[in-house]
Symmetry: D2
Subunit: 344 residues, 4 copies
Amino acid sequence: MIRFNNDYNRGACTEILEALGRTNTESYCGYGLDEWCKKGGEEIKKYLGGIDADIHFLTGGTQANYTLIAAALRPFQSVISADCAHINGHETGAVENTGHKILARKNTDGKLSVASILEEALAYKSSGVKEHITQPKLVFLSFPSELGTVYSKSELAEIRRICDEFGMFLYIDGARLGYGLGAEGGDVTIEDIAHYADAFYIGGTKCGALFGEAMVLKNPSLKDNFRSYMKQNGAMLAKGWLPGLQFYTLFKDGLYFSITRNAVVQAMKIKEAFKARSIPLYSESPTNQQFPVLTKAQMDKLSEKYIFEYEKDLGEGLHCVRFCTSWSTDASEVSSLVNDIAGL
Amino acid sequence: MIRFNNDYNRGACTEILEALGRTNTESYCGYGLDEWCKKGGEEIKKYLGGIDADIHFLTGGTQANYTLIAAALRPFQSVISADCAHINGHETGAVENTGHKILARKNTDGKLSVASILEEALAYKSSGVKEHITQPKLVFLSFPSELGTVYSKSELAEIRRICDEFGMFLYIDGARLGYGLGAEGGDVTIEDIAHYADAFYIGGTKCGALFGEAMVLKNPSLKDNFRSYMKQNGAMLAKGWLPGLQFYTLFKDGLYFSITRNAVVQAMKIKEAFKARSIPLYSESPTNQQFPVLTKAQMDKLSEKYIFEYEKDLGEGLHCVRFCTSWSTDASEVSSLVNDIAGL
Amino acid sequence: MIRFNNDYNRGACTEILEALGRTNTESYCGYGLDEWCKKGGEEIKKYLGGIDADIHFLTGGTQANYTLIAAALRPFQSVISADCAHINGHETGAVENTGHKILARKNTDGKLSVASILEEALAYKSSGVKEHITQPKLVFLSFPSELGTVYSKSELAEIRRICDEFGMFLYIDGARLGYGLGAEGGDVTIEDIAHYADAFYIGGTKCGALFGEAMVLKNPSLKDNFRSYMKQNGAMLAKGWLPGLQFYTLFKDGLYFSITRNAVVQAMKIKEAFKARSIPLYSESPTNQQFPVLTKAQMDKLSEKYIFEYEKDLGEGLHCVRFCTSWSTDASEVSSLVNDIAGL
Amino acid sequence: MIRFNNDYNRGACTEILEALGRTNTESYCGYGLDEWCKKGGEEIKKYLGGIDADIHFLTGGTQANYTLIAAALRPFQSVISADCAHINGHETGAVENTGHKILARKNTDGKLSVASILEEALAYKSSGVKEHITQPKLVFLSFPSELGTVYSKSELAEIRRICDEFGMFLYIDGARLGYGLGAEGGDVTIEDIAHYADAFYIGGTKCGALFGEAMVLKNPSLKDNFRSYMKQNGAMLAKGWLPGLQFYTLFKDGLYFSITRNAVVQAMKIKEAFKARSIPLYSESPTNQQFPVLTKAQMDKLSEKYIFEYEKDLGEGLHCVRFCTSWSTDASEVSSLVNDIAGL
């Protein structure tokens, strides 16, 4: 069976395993105060357009999201997100567990629309009973979204403008950031992300690392005491150099970008195969996740050789499923799939 | 100016002020362990059809809601409510502040529909990734709803059945319970409420008391340690007998029911006046809150003599506002308003 | 039976009941935006030495404490208090329930010593692993303490200096503030309290009001959005004018100070009676709470006519108990007790 | 420089690196539902005396502690621990951040004494105002303690008995469990730990793994929904097989026990060296952490070649420091240190 169900089903890039082996008998300072975390941050910053950022390494995406939100918000403040956002539907209420409400808005192709952000901000601003409602203080975007779609540079610029106008933080969940930056036809660079966001994280787990996420903090008010929030929220590894070393390895020669772009190239082959076969796609995704709409017979056929993720029953005998490529996807696996799609 | 903006703009029923005066120099046990809390609970229970309930007295509705929810749920469990529910939009994220997610569903005339409860329950039951989502464990209803509408007895029975099937609590916010029970054409008694709910509170603040809400706990698993939750959540008055005495006064001769029913009778006159004048109503409310849809000119005219609450701009020059009657509404105030509506 | 067990066993001063009666049929704005809250605050501020303060009215002490602490602290920050402080041992972990650690220090006669505050502040400042520990950010004092003792003006000045040096808030729980200010031989005025504290509350429940506490916020950083914290924490009454009116009544002619000072005068008679009878006192309290150390026989004898609070078994047949006077204590009740103490 | 400052300054056992390399291109189910987590749990259970346990793999100790506590306790319940316990002083208030109070008791040689557990349990049981205090519901032990000391089998038996009598959970933090089980002269086996505890975790990070902790849940009431708590608390790795594989590797042939026992053997040499040189030890530790009391001159001398952890200033020119051995300690490093101690 070939797994296309997700982008976290294999270990790590060879380069990362080698780095771990090479440094295994060295001894390091604990809790992220080591040289690799320093170097990893420096390599990342080379791509960020000269912003003054603090970079911290955490172990997972849910953890990264709620730790940042807990650090950013006061108890009466809330988050604006798309209804399909990972924090709203796939993290077991972790944000609410830190005490904060999510103002979830109906998504547009997986994205949070500029209009809905503006509506929530205006609703609070114009409210005569502000103390009875929460203050929307942080806009949560995923890049790419849960449906694989990406924001354009002009959308990000407009969202930034709204955040500035209403005093809100812009935070970007980059669990799959590499795939988003490598989007077919996309116009957003990591420098743009750094320019527009107050904070974002660069996903490692799904993009070539064994594990780890790099949180980039740009807004000065988010920087203070972030390590305290990390420790309090279980996000500070004793062997903090492990993710630092991995991100050093991924960024020092641009490996992060090449492996994720390649995954997108592979995904485009799968996308084209579905299109060629006139199978509709649930979203027009230019990234590594593809959401074809299949009949039961088509699902059964593909299930003989491939593992993919069931998303939902669309009624009338149609089903949305997900095929993911990743940094570890083999071109021959994709060729096989493409052939089998053609034969459906 | 005559206030119709809400049902909590005056002190208390004469009988309650008299009771406070009569007992003022008596001395009592603290923290709700006094004789009036005991007697108040006993008087209430006479109306509850013989259920085995614990009754506690709290000071406000927000407090009652989040204290009950904090006591009922484990951290990974959530609440199903209507999107317009008080807990979702008027309590500053108090439920999320206790750590719990609200699964807010689009309301139907202010109510949470049976269908949407079932959908949420089924979504969890059928989920293959339960540990990534919250477990809906408590259904939150308001009786009457934020739009003044009430559930029918058959609706409550069906919701109860779903709660039983999926192991969920049914909790009813009765901030305006008296007005709901006195609904024009309603078929639900307080005995029905007690029969169907696992817990509910009987609102005092808006229904004749100076302040205070009576929480009725029927489900045995909600009874244990509720006083600990009250104390921890600032809901236990040192002079606990004050709300106990007030509820004793309201229930010993049925005063609670007569004053709230009278308020509904007054509200019906206002409703008829709007209807007679062909002014549309935003909801078909059979209780003490009426939501006429007015033009700016009509609002301005009525604003000369009356205070009412602005709800929202409906566009095209129309505005939804709220007129409330209450236990303290004077018949002459209503006559005046009815005349002025006719003259619009 | 005559109750000396606490200072919250009777209703309210006559003046307050009268005020409630006089205004009962008036109608007011909700949620503390009414004229009485405004006037009540103004009357209080006349005693505060011209500080620029915001004043809010809450319903109880536990609620006041945790709401203020939730508003003041970030998640990684903690409170320094005496081990016997109300927040540490009598509020069901309410502060921890808001997410904050209490650094509890062994008390000195019920008080938090200057030395222990300094130790905690220095321990954090000198720590090399600050992100592994909480930051002490708020010093919690009770005035008077749980043992009835009071801080001197010079102690408060020194604590203020330490708070300034280390960037900590000084918050004073004044559940019994009136009795503390009326302490026999005390040198602290309410103006001093206002001068030294960043925030404090003036207790009403135990000092003549039916219920209610007046929170005084002086530090600008504590003022913003405090009403949001109140609403979120169930501390905002719909009929907000009720405590406002009560504090207006207590402060407009200094009633608050005279009734509490009188209670202290009564307590001193009881204290002298125990001393005259050579019965030791557990603390040298100059306020309304007295803690005699009795034998079982003495307890039994006094229990025939009086209700008092058992505190703890001191071993060797001795028991610490509490006798409280209050604003409602009758001089004849005290005379009776004094006689009976003499006859032990 | 040779690091003896802690037991987490190097990567992982060779066997673990090899296992990671060998499986790197295999693809697995996510979130701990893979075969390695299953096999890892099975290997561990072979040592647990046949108990019916659920085993989950988390990424760090702080996370393991607060996730278990959040899962075990209701909001009004608290933890009994030693004052020096990791949760009380080194986890940035993580337990309080989940809403729970820690009842911290003065330690006895780093341990929580049987007597102090009993005192807290009895204090609650005999309290007449239970709703004003928290209920001690979980006893937190570290094995070994922060001072390297271990509980005896009879101490654990007695603590278990008290927990049973008062309905409390016994939870053991085993961050250094291997070193505790290998204690010189100790009489506790991992089977004993499993027999007495309701839950405990087996530390991997400090005992040979790259990272990871294995939580063992025995008490049925702790098992339900633990994966939901993990996900909500950021403790569920997408690549869940990584810690599962590591624990499989550590337990399938007893490697976990041999490498940690060896570290203790090395530590004993260091201990003897200090004793031979008449340098006092702050605690009589039979495990991998040694706490000599040094003069400034001795510290300076040893600092020339070794990194060790400063603990605290004991006054009179004496300082407590920590030397740790670990699974990765080289015998030649120890020989060097032993020689240099002799030469002090």
